[in-house]
Amino acid sequence: MNFQFVLDNLAALTVTGLTQGSIYALVALGYTLVYGVLRLINFAHSEVFMIGTFTTTIIWAALGFGVGAAAPSTLGVLGLILAAVLAAGAASGATALVVERVAYRPLRKRNAPPLIFLISAIGASVALMEAAGAITNRQPRGMPSLVFPKVQFSIFGADVTNLQLGIIFSALLMWVGLDTFINRSRLGRGVRAVAQNPEVAALMGVNKDRVIMLIFILGGAMAGAASVLYDVKVGLTTYSVGFLIGIKAFTAAVLGGIGNLRGALLGGLLLGVVENYGAGVFGNQWMDVVAFLVLVVVLLFRPNGLLGESLGRARA
């Protein structure tokens, strides 16, 4: 127990927590979108993220930025990140879409009970993870550091690096884009209509299957973007990378109120920060224990999460 350490380094722990939390939040959006519309926990979402991390290494290697490559210029860094976001977003979105088509849509057509969807989700998750394990021989893949952390400024005694700033801002930007899309656009209107009442939405001419495809692609693309941020931050990936991130992101979604976009953001950031404090107090090995204890405690008092469940809400 080391409360003094946490108090002394509160600001620094907060910054690292927010950085980690931004990645949780982006992944959490995928859980929350799918749950909001289908009332289904898409456990295969963690593997959608994993596919993104590998796609990033592949596209970087293809662009000449493999292991041992020299650090590129600033413009090169931006180009590599953009290429990775596009490629990983597309690959993850496509993976999510395939999961929907193969694992969920046939069940939906047969009106399967929710439990069957859950089994199918877990099956899809394990199948994807093990397939990636087989292909990569269960060897982790490293990549050269793209961004060397450089302190930009200090706030309350915490050094903030360009890397941390970049990750937090990219995540916020993606979130704002998604939130605006859902709340302002025509397609977003359809998504909200289906989330609020699928039967009536269909009777008002909303194509439910298309809305479902859309949310899987959107959620997948968000996970793809998160996977790029993860790669930039960690520089290492493996076939099972999605598991813990996926569980944490799912926790973040539930913490904020699953089905609620703002909840996913709040839950992700909060989880990142709290687990960092926890790690500071009890030591790093206790980080995940703290994260999940927080979930249990919050749900005891707010069973619907901090902001409540609802994708349909205008403030979703």
Binding site: L187, V200, M204, V206
Partner: protein, 290 residues
């Protein structure tokens, strides 16, 4: 316009509709009446694709409805309201209507993203320059110039048209001042009217109203009557389920009477009123008391 051809629907062992047969003619207001449990709402459900006929066919302008996806039936031109109000509670009144209007959008998902389909703009459609100075004015001018050269995307124009149409419909049903309010905050009567506006936004040929006057006081019922007539006069055919006999008699051109899942009578209000079967089965009292 709509043919309900010998339709039977069974739910397990229960026969909800038993060989029901009637047509809705273009431009009329047809009343569908009958005691509780007669199968009126089931009939609506069959027409809008919610319930599947066990036997028989439903044709709309010659096209079979059964087996089609619900959203496609809506796009064929059949819209409905619900006996128990079913709005999108967390959307504004305007957005509720827009969801209906979206059924008529032509721009695809990809089209809306890329917006390469441009339409030349008329002068009054250009972005307005309202800022008096500084960067804001420059940005607005740039936008206006851009639109003059590249036109507007069809998506933007459709979105604008949808908003205009939705506002117009809200005005038609008399709740345009509440456009920005969340649907769940509207009063009961406003919610009923909003349902009608949302259904009309899908540009139906046939509008199915399921007890639109339920819970209305006499003055509100009068307004509703006027509204239904107004809707018919815009060229929409109306199929109306209603319990209030006075309302049905007052507004419909013809009436179909159902009991226990069967059609027992059909005709003008006057004919139906005189029909002994109807008097016995539905009214249970002398006809003139209705």
């Amino acid at each position: 316009m709509l043919e309900v051809d010998n339709v039977t629907i069974r739910f397990g062992g229960v026969v909800a509709l038993d060989g029901v047969d009637f047509v809705v003619r273009e431009g009329e207001i047809l009343g569908l009446i009958g005691p509780n449990g007669a199968g009126k709402t089931t009939c609506f459900n069959a027409i809008t694709g919610v319930a599947k006929p066990t036997k028989g066919a439903i044709r709309f302008n010659g096209e079979s409805v059964a087996g089609r996806k619900r959203y496609k039936i809506t796009r064929l031109g059949i819209a409905r309201t619900f006996q128990n109000i079913r709005l999108f509670p967390e959307m504004t009144a305007l957005e509720n209507v827009l969801v209906g209007a979206d059924a008529r959008h032509k721009t695809s998902v990809v089209g809306a993203l890329l917006r390469v389909y441009r339409v030349p703009v008329k002068r009054h459609e250009l972005a307005e320059v309202t800022a008096t100075g500084g960067l804001a004015r420059l940005a607005q001018q740039a936008r206006r110039t851009g639109q003059r050269f590249f036109g507007l995307s069809r998506h933007t124009l459709e979105e604008r048209a949808a908003r205009a149409k939705a506002t117009e419909l809200l005005r038609l049903v008399g709740i345009d001042v509440r456009a920005g309010e969340l649907a769940r905050n509207l009063s009961y009567g406003e919610q009923r009217r909003l349902e009608i506006a949302r259904a009309l936004a899908t540009e139906p040929g046939l509008l199915c109203l399921d007890e639109p006057a339920a819970g209305f006081n006499p003055a509100e019922k009068e307004e509703l009557l006027a509204l239904i007539r107004k809707i018919r006069d815009t060229g929409v055919t109306v199929l109306l389920i209603e319990h209030d006999m006075r309302l049905v008699m007052g507004v419909t051109d013809r009436i179909v009477v159902m009991e226990f899942g069967k059609k027992i009578a059909e005709g003008t209000p006057a004919e139906v009123r005189e029909n002994p079967k109807v008097i016995a089965a539905y009214l249970g009292v002398p006809a003139d008391a209705a």
